[in-house]
Structures are given as structure tokens and as C-alpha cells.
Symmetry: C5
Amino acid sequence: MNNSKDLEKMIPLNVHSDNKNLYLENLKKITKDTGKLFLFAGDQKIEHLNKDFYGKDISSQSADPEHLFKIANSGYVGCFATQLGLISKYGNDYKNINYVVKLNSKTDLVQTKQSEPMSSLLNTVQDVVDFKQSSALSIVGVGYTIYLGSEYESAMLAQASRIIYDAHKNGLIAILWIYPRGKAVKNELDPELIAGACGVGVCLGADFVKINNPGKEYLTNCVKAAGRTGIVLAGGKHKDSEIFLEELYEQVNKFKISGCAIGRNIHQKDLDNAVRFCKAIYGIIYENIILNDAKNYLKE
Amino acid sequence: MNNSKDLEKMIPLNVHSDNKNLYLENLKKITKDTGKLFLFAGDQKIEHLNKDFYGKDISSQSADPEHLFKIANSGYVGCFATQLGLISKYGNDYKNINYVVKLNSKTDLVQTKQSEPMSSLLNTVQDVVDFKQSSALSIVGVGYTIYLGSEYESAMLAQASRIIYDAHKNGLIAILWIYPRGKAVKNELDPELIAGACGVGVCLGADFVKINNPGKEYLTNCVKAAGRTGIVLAGGKHKDSEIFLEELYEQVNKFKISGCAIGRNIHQKDLDNAVRFCKAIYGIIYENIILNDAKNYLKE
Amino acid sequence: MNNSKDLEKMIPLNVHSDNKNLYLENLKKITKDTGKLFLFAGDQKIEHLNKDFYGKDISSQSADPEHLFKIANSGYVGCFATQLGLISKYGNDYKNINYVVKLNSKTDLVQTKQSEPMSSLLNTVQDVVDFKQSSALSIVGVGYTIYLGSEYESAMLAQASRIIYDAHKNGLIAILWIYPRGKAVKNELDPELIAGACGVGVCLGADFVKINNPGKEYLTNCVKAAGRTGIVLAGGKHKDSEIFLEELYEQVNKFKISGCAIGRNIHQKDLDNAVRFCKAIYGIIYENIILNDAKNYLKE
Amino acid sequence: MNNSKDLEKMIPLNVHSDNKNLYLENLKKITKDTGKLFLFAGDQKIEHLNKDFYGKDISSQSADPEHLFKIANSGYVGCFATQLGLISKYGNDYKNINYVVKLNSKTDLVQTKQSEPMSSLLNTVQDVVDFKQSSALSIVGVGYTIYLGSEYESAMLAQASRIIYDAHKNGLIAILWIYPRGKAVKNELDPELIAGACGVGVCLGADFVKINNPGKEYLTNCVKAAGRTGIVLAGGKHKDSEIFLEELYEQVNKFKISGCAIGRNIHQKDLDNAVRFCKAIYGIIYENIILNDAKNYLKE
Amino acid sequence: MNNSKDLEKMIPLNVHSDNKNLYLENLKKITKDTGKLFLFAGDQKIEHLNKDFYGKDISSQSADPEHLFKIANSGYVGCFATQLGLISKYGNDYKNINYVVKLNSKTDLVQTKQSEPMSSLLNTVQDVVDFKQSSALSIVGVGYTIYLGSEYESAMLAQASRIIYDAHKNGLIAILWIYPRGKAVKNELDPELIAGACGVGVCLGADFVKINNPGKEYLTNCVKAAGRTGIVLAGGKHKDSEIFLEELYEQVNKFKISGCAIGRNIHQKDLDNAVRFCKAIYGIIYENIILNDAKNYLKE
């Protein structure tokens, strides 16, 4: 859909003039020149602790953190998002991955009914910039989670704004995970709230916002609310791969959703099946393949 | 009412001597040499989420964030106030707008009865100064909301004071939104409280204070309490345009209110009607036109 | 009582050697070479909002913030204490006033029974130093309020200590407002607590402490507890001017109180009466006039 | 198991290039070229106050803090972890010890049911780097405790991440103590939570994580979850030394646990017995000796 | 007991090499070459407000803050500890006193049952270093109070650690006041807790720890727990001077306590009696005089 010239128009004005080329290059890397995004989310070892990586219907390969890197290394994801610490441990063996550093993470031990959700910065954008240089890894962007409606919302909006400003200044892509959560939020999947989250994302200057799927009939509403910020949908709990692809195909092609940001649906598979699944998603998002061709990747 | 020489007298003493001309230029830009102000408020995508932009009696054009920029680009507003992030996404296509960067914003998900209101800084004045230079946009000032009577009031007064000091130092106009809110506030529209808010505004050194309308009989009281700080009235929920103009006309001409700071009443209209409405307001505030001429803009 | 040589002995040891002359000059300015102090307190537009400036028995002139400057400009006060923001708006027209920048202020909306009192810094001492230089105003000192007995007392003691240290370093006079307040304080006017407040003041290194009047029989106790820190008494609600002068005369001449720090009793009068009243106070504190001569100023 | 070449592969990517040799040297020092770790934990004088050092079944030698240094000085531990302050008092007489500076510590006076656990930084990594240089001690790393599941978890994750980043940058080994604790944690020894803690450790980039023993059947799970981060088991309350060695032997040789991090089981013995015990542990972890040889150290 | 060579061994390793001589000199000054300490505590005007200085059985001289300086100036105390602010007001007339700057202080208005105790820093060590230089006073060290067992304990441990590190770096002696206090502390005088406080003191690297007297039978335990950190006992409420000396004599000579840190027992006497009392204490702690000689000072 986009070409390089279109992508150039997507460079935000807070990218420092010296870093406009770098930003554009990063945008091309993770969108494969399309403006769309397939983000492989790998921050769950903190967010969900061990339960996503071990148990019934989960490949035993998933228990090893390196599994995530092996999948990302296949070349069939736009970028791989995880914590800087984890990257520091494995990155030396996986230099071809486009990394997005997930800057905040919390466990799910303390539940909303006990205490309002807040997730603090593990690293600053400056850390990322320094780490990028010293590691020579292809670090293309940063990610940050906001819990909209939490009593700590104001602090998280402030941190998100700071991060996006600093990321853009340094030529990095900025991606927000925005989830309505807190005592004030009766229904975390309320489609009007999710559309509101999209609006918050563009007001903060995010390049992409990861949201929970508000339901097919509300996708257009979200795309409009997000304006020039791309929307990528979270995968949620493991679901049937073919159904996932059908839904994704429709989201991207009919509703102009920018892509998806998923983790469990990929890494809970063994490496071979995970890569096949990535190929299918990659094809739909980046290569405009038809649904059947995508499904065929699962079976090859 | 004012001329340039009068405006010069309005330069606060904390404007750095190197930036006095810049401040004066900014003041002229947003007041069109009159000392009065028509501020188009566009921070609601965070403040009110999606409900202001979508629904019954709202133009479908309002759903797209770009609608705000198209209206502001008409040339018939004094300035357009919104978040830096949003400006970074659209500013490149809208270089003629006079921008006021709204420095704090929160959603309305957490209500006062649950938790005292607090709205943190999304960006610093230094960010704005840097962004202004790197973007070459016409950024003329900054805005900040204080919830007077909140248990976090003291923190917000401190931030507001910091921002105004830094803004003036750098030649930028400083505008406060002051709303009484919190458990301690029985009636957010209590006219005595609103007059108090005006006094707080001038003590913090604000150039303009946006307040809710305390009622016609209390406007003079507010203007006195604000002293050398101009008062602009919020628009609130959508109301009939003609009635709005009649009220504005009286506020400005009879009660010496400096103007208005409105959003929903403008952007919920389609572009054509929104611009007509802006023309009418622009005429009343900046051009001293008579009420009928203003109303005629609505019908042309 | 003092002469310049005595004043020299009052220079605290934390005044930077380069600024000893400046400190001495400031001390002379506000004490008129006497070591005593008549402070005109003008921070109530934040502290008390509009109710001190408008209503029954209040001159209509009081509604305009400029009224405060006109009174201070009469030359019959030692110094005028108000917020930096307000000074920035009017100072250019009132260059002969000796200003004390009141560094913190809060409204009285949130009452002690709802939330423990805390008043944050609106500006730093460095801001004041910079503002003094850029404005060329005669800024002679800074003021800060501590609520002793509040659960936030520790934070306020720390800020007060910081401010006094920085003020002295830069040659500025440091004045504390110390009021016992909070759930732990059964009686805000308990004379033992007020004497304690005086001791806190000298331990923090304040030059003057503004306290509420503990009652005639306790003044000596307070003066002793304060040691080398001068005590000035707050005026409180409006009272009969002649009675005020009688009390002041006794406080200064019999009990060795350093003077007074009052606002409402002055600014709620019209300009003429306010200046007469200031002349009378000025005479008692700085010129050793007899009570009848002071009273005569009210009638001239 | 490892040789130097293997150890080189363990250097995290956030070690500054100038400090890679230093990091490697430190890693060799504490792992004796094996990649495994015997950490002598000596932070209990703050963590447990005096009760670990005085009482029934505790050698009277344990009461003197120097006891810890005498044991560590025997040469039969990989490293000795304690607070910088304590090191500053005794280090000059114990220059051959490899020190790990424990950066945070709290007492156990305030229990979880009263207040959620939080342990703040006593020193920064920069303090450690400076202290290392000025003291010329062999300081090889830093340690930090996280209470996973505390309402302050997010703040501790952020501090831990900061510390690890800074430690690695400066060539220091980074070790986390991770204990599930807080109202949200029903069972602090829940093996699934402990496995989750291991995953958190590797995501933060820790080199080693000290955990409580989840039970034999869960060790493999933990080792997998930790990936490239080594696991060392806490000793807990004093237990029979022979049983301890049997368990350790199995943990290291059968379950690939990296070693142990213990305190009370060592320092509550007199010096002679403490050193014998250390020799046995040292042999198992670093020298691959058989269990009987280890047990013989206890009897020699 | 000690000689200079012994004192040299007491220099902590975090004293910067350039400041080792300065530290040693300060240590000699306050211990009179003995390693022991008589600290005159004068921070009560904030800690206890006015009640320690005025009332039954208190010399009327005590009401004047200068009384403290006159006593310290007698030359018969090791050092005088009070707030920097108070020193700034009187120090110019009392240049021969060895000052310890008490860095934090709070009043006792808010009681533990209302709110957990927390005492914030009034000044930083850098302030003290700067003040020492500009005032040319003999400032030999700093003091800080920790409330062990408070919910704010972690913050105070962190501040204490910071202060000790910075003090030592700059050649200053670091003294902790450690008092168990807070809802979690059932008995503030529990001897096991007090022994624990001694252990905390040495782990933070303090040179001396001021504790409440745990009772004669527990002193040895405390001395052991403190290791290389000296213990000085608080005096508490006024008691009979002869009994005080008898107890002190036994504490120092039999139980190897390093000395005492007292205020009220001294300053509530008139100057003559206060100095006699100081001479007696000075003799016991620094000059190894016998008890009767000490008692004779009281009567001379």
C-alpha cells in the first residue's frame, strides 16, 4: 500500500533532523516498506511469569527463553519486542533480529482489585540508544504499556509521552500498548474505550498502538480515532491458527488495521510450527498474499 | 482595543530580555494585536476520549483527528491548543497554524469520587522549545490544567508555576485552564470559586486563564480578580451557535472578557460549518464586528 | 535600636562571602536599619482565594490585584511579600517596592480534616535570583510557609531548610511563616506550640518568623525561644485599627517583638486609609514614634 | 563444565566494550572458571537484625561482624555479599576477598501483613565503582533483592533493571535475590511462582538469581525458565550440614543448578567448622568432587 | 585506650584518599585521641519543641538557644550536634566548638499511632562541606536519625547510607541516631532490637551509633553487634547527676561503651552547673579519671 515516499510522510516532526533517515530506515525495516506491522511480542516472562511458557498445549520448547529468539530469527516477523535485559543475554547470537525494546513490564501477581495497575520504566530511551550503539544490534524502536483508567494513568501518560518524544528524537519507532484497566474500568474490552485508547495513542504521537480487539464492527471506528497512528491487534489467548489468519486477513484488508502484535499464539508452538505461522502472518501483512496461500504455510 | 504599544506593556517581567520581541510577536499572533484571544481547544481526545468525536449530532468528519487541523488551518482561530504528540503527527501538513502545546492531559475515566484529580506533565517547556526549533512550526505558547481544590492541588500549582516561569523565560505565552474539582469542591461552578481561580491565575503569572462560565452576573467580579491576566471562557457542551454568539458578544463587549477557549462547539460540526462558526467568533473577538454580521457568517 | 554595626552581626554564616554586603543591604532595606520588620503580606489571592478581596466591609478597590502594589508603593512598608507570578505582571510599574517572593502557597479549599496540609514550592531560590537579575527589581528576600504538626511536616522542614540555605548563600533574607496545623494539632493557637515554632525557626536559620499571636503573656517566651531570629506577628482577621496599633506598640516596645506581617488589615481598606494605616505601623516599628502620633496618622 | 572460552560467551551485550575483560575476569573470579557460583551471603545484620547472630545453637563467634570476614577470607567461597558500609569498616584487613556489594537491605520488623515489602537502594552502582577504585578491593559485583508480587514490585523491577544495566556497563557481575512476597502472594514457596521469578531474572539480564528452593521436582523447570541466567539456591534456616551437602550435590550435578547462596548455615558455626563447611561446598560446586569427599571436610 | 596509630586503623575505606588526614584529624578532635566520644546533643528545639527548654526544674537560661553554645564553648564536650541553621546564627561567636551537623530533625507532634515516623534531610553533606569552607568553622561530622521498624525505614536506611558514604568521602565523621519506632515496634527499648540497631549501624558504615540504653545486662551484646562502630548512649530524661556519672563510669570502663550523647541532662542546668557536669563526663570518657574525681567536679 505504501511506498518509500509515503513512508517519508509518516516521519513525525519530533524526529531530530539528523535522525530522519534513521527513523525512515527503522520504519522500513519493521514495516517492510508497507507501513504495516507484524510485531512478535515477547515480554510475557515478566508480564505473565511462567504460565505462558509451560503447561498443557504448550510446546516444551517454549520453556527456554531462547525459543523466542529462534522464532524471531526466522526472518518472518517485522520486529521482536522484549526487555533489554533479555536481549543482552541472547542478542550476541541473534544479530539479524529487528528488536523493539519493551521499556516497562510488570507481573500479574497484584490484581486490579487489590491495587491500581502501574508499570514503571525498566530502562530509559537513552539506555536503549547507548545499548544499540555498544551492542551493534538492530534496535529499531521502543515499546511502553499504558493502563488507561488506572489511578496511575497520569503518571503513565507522562512517561509514555516522554519516551515517545525521546525515541523520535533519536530516530526510533515508538509503539504503545494501551489497555483500559483499573477500578474505574467496568469492561476492559468496551469498544468505545478501546477507540478512546487509539485517540490517546495519536495524541501522544505513537507510531503504532497495540490494542485488544474491540470486535469486528468497531474496527473502523478505531482506525479513524487513531488517525495517522497505526493500529495493531493483540492476539490474546491461544486460538486456532486458521481462524486467526482468517480474522487477520479481514482486519488488514477490509478494516485497514495495520497488523498484529502477538506472542502466545506464536511461541507456544514448537519452532517449526511457530515459523510456519509467522510466514503466514508475514505474507498477509507484508506481502498481500491471499488467505489460502497463508493457510498453506501452516501445512507445508 | 489594544494596540502594539499596549501589548508591549503586557510583557511580563520574567520574559528573558533576549525573548521580549519573541513574546510580543507571539502575543500579537494569538491576539491579532488586540490583547484578546480566541483559542481553539483540541485536547479532548485524551480528556474526553472518543465520546466527543463520535455519536449523535456529531459530524462524521469529527472522528478523524485531522479534522481539528483542517479547522485550525482555516485561519479563523487565534491559536489551536493540543498535545505535542498530535502536532508531531500532523504539523508538517499544517504549518500556518499558531500552536499552543497543551502540556498536561488526563482522561475522565477515574472520577473525582474515586480519586482526587491530578494531571501530570506530558512534556516540559524545554521539549516545546526544542520541538519548536526542530519543527519550524509556529508554536506560540503552552497550556496547563489545574484542578483547584484537589488534594493534589499543591503539586499542580507548583507545576503550573514552573511552566509559566519557563515559558515566559523562553518568550512563550502561558495559558492556564483552572477548574475547581475534588472532594472539597461542592459545586464546580460556584462563582466565588471561579473568581478565586482567576486570582490564582494572575498570582501564578498566567497570561490567560480559561475558566468555566460563572454566570453573567459574576463576570465583572472575575475580570477584576484576574487583574492583568486575561479571562477566556470555556464552551462546555454543544449549544446552539447563535445563542453562543450572542453570549460571547455580550461577554466580550459588555463584561470585558478577553475571549473564549472552545472545542466541542467547533469540531463537532463539519468543516464548512465549523469554519463559518470560527469566522463569526473571530469577528466578534478580534474585529469588533456587530452581532448580526457575526450571525450572518453562519448562514452564508 | 540597632545600628548598621549591629546589623552586621546579624549576617548568618551561610551567607556566601561574596554576598555579605548584599545581604546587609537587603537587611537594611527591609528593617530601615533597625533590625525590625514591617512586612506587608500579599499572598492571600491564592491562600484565601477571593473572599479576602470582595465582600462586606472590604473596599471595592481591594478586588483589583494592583491595589496591593499601590499600597506597597507608598513607601510605608518594609517589604511586600507575594508570589513571583504576580510580581512579574505588575513589577514593571512598581519598581520602588522591596519585594519578598513568597515561594509556596496553597488554597484553603482542602481543609485539615480532609487532608493534612502541605504547600509546595512554586519557585526555587534560583528562579528568584535569576528573576531579580533579569527584572532589575529590588527583590530582598524569600518567604515560605511551614505547617508544623502536619503529616507532611518533614517534607516542609526539608524544603524550608533548603530555601534558607540557598537564600542566604545568595544574599537574600529568609522569612518563615510557621503555623501549627494538622490532625495532631488540637489547638493551632496553643502558646507553647507557637513558642516551639519560634525555636524551629531559629534552628532552620530563618531571619524572621511570622507566627500567630500567642497572647500577650506568652510573647516573652516566644522571643526567647527564637533567639537571634526575629518574630513578626500575623494580623489575622480585620480588626479595629486603633486597637491594632495599641497592641503593636506594646508588642514592639514592651515585649521586643520585631514587628508585624499583615495583609487583610491593610488591603481591605481603600488606598488612602491603607496608606495612613501603613504610616502608623511604619512609625511604630521603624521610627520609635509614640502611640498617639501613630494613631494620628489614621485621622489626618 | 565451562572453560574460559565458554565464559566469554556469557558476557552480556550491555557490558561496555572497554569493560568486557574486566567482566570476564570478575566472572572467572567468582565462578573459578566454572560458570557456577558459591555466594556467601552476609547481609543479615540488616535483614534479620541480631537474631541470626546470637542465641541457642549459634557460635558465640557469630556475634562479631568480623566473623563473616574471617570466614570469607578462608578462600573457600566464590564471593562474599554484604553492604558497602560493612565492607568499608573491615575491608582494609581483608583484601583478598571477592566482594559483592548488596545494594539494598531492609529489616524484617515491618511484616507483610502490615505493609507491602519494599527495599530501597543503599548505594548506587556508581558508588560501588568509585569505592572499588578508591579502596582497591576486589569488588566483583552487586546484588539486589526484588519482592515479586509486592505492591512496590514495579519500583523494584525498575531499580533492579537500572542496577543491572549500570553494573554490566561497568564490568560488574549482577545478582538478583528474587522472593515472591506481599499480600498477593498466597504461598511464597509456590514452585510456579519461583520458576516465574527465574524468568523475571533473565528478562532483567541478571547473571545469577538467588531463589528459595522450590522443591527437587521443580528445579529443572526453574533452570529452563532462567535460560542463560544461573540459579543459586538460598540456604534458609540452619540445617544439618551433611544433608545440606547431599542436597547441594544433587542440585548441582543432577539438576544443573549453578550453586548456592547461603549465610546462616555458614556463619552460625564457629570459624573452624564454618571453613570446613565452605571447603565442602567449594569442592562440590567448583571442583566436581564426590559427595563423600565433601562430607569428609566436615570431619577432618 | 587508643593512640593515634590505633585511630588510623579506624579510617573507613570509603574515605577518599585525599581526605584521610582530615578524617583522622576530625576523629582525633572529637575523641581526644581516645576513640571514645562525648557528644553534646542540641537538636531538641526541633525534636521536642519548647518543652525541653522551659518549665519546672529547668534553668531559665535554657530558654535562650545561645545557652547551648555557651556550654559547648566551655571546651568540655567532644562535639556539639545541632542543625546547620542554628549554627549559622551563632557560629560566628563560637568558633572553637567542634560541630556535628544534625542533618535531619522532626517534631514530636505527629505521634507514631497517627503516622509512621519519618525524618527528612534538612541539608545534604555537600551543603555541610560548602558551609564548612565558607564559615571556617570546625565542622567535624554529620548526624542522622533512623527510626528502625517504621514503614519509612527503607527510605531512611537509604538516606543514612547516602550520607555516610558522602561524609566519609569528604573526611567527615558519620554518626547515626537509631531508634526502633513505629507500629511494628511493640517495645522501643527491647534490648534485642537495640542490639539489632547496632548491627544496622555497622552495616551502614557509621562511626558511632547513638542508642537508648538497653539495660546493663545487654550492653556487651550491643558492643559485639556493633563491631567496629562505637556505641554512645542517649541520656533520656533528666536524672540525678551523680547517678548518671556512676552509670556512665561503668558503661565505659566495664562494658566498653564508647561514651554518651546527651542533651537535656546538660542544657537544662544553668551554665555553671552544666559545665561542671560536662567536665565530669569529659574526665570519665576522655581522661580515665576515677569516679570520685568526676563527682567532685559537680561540687567544686
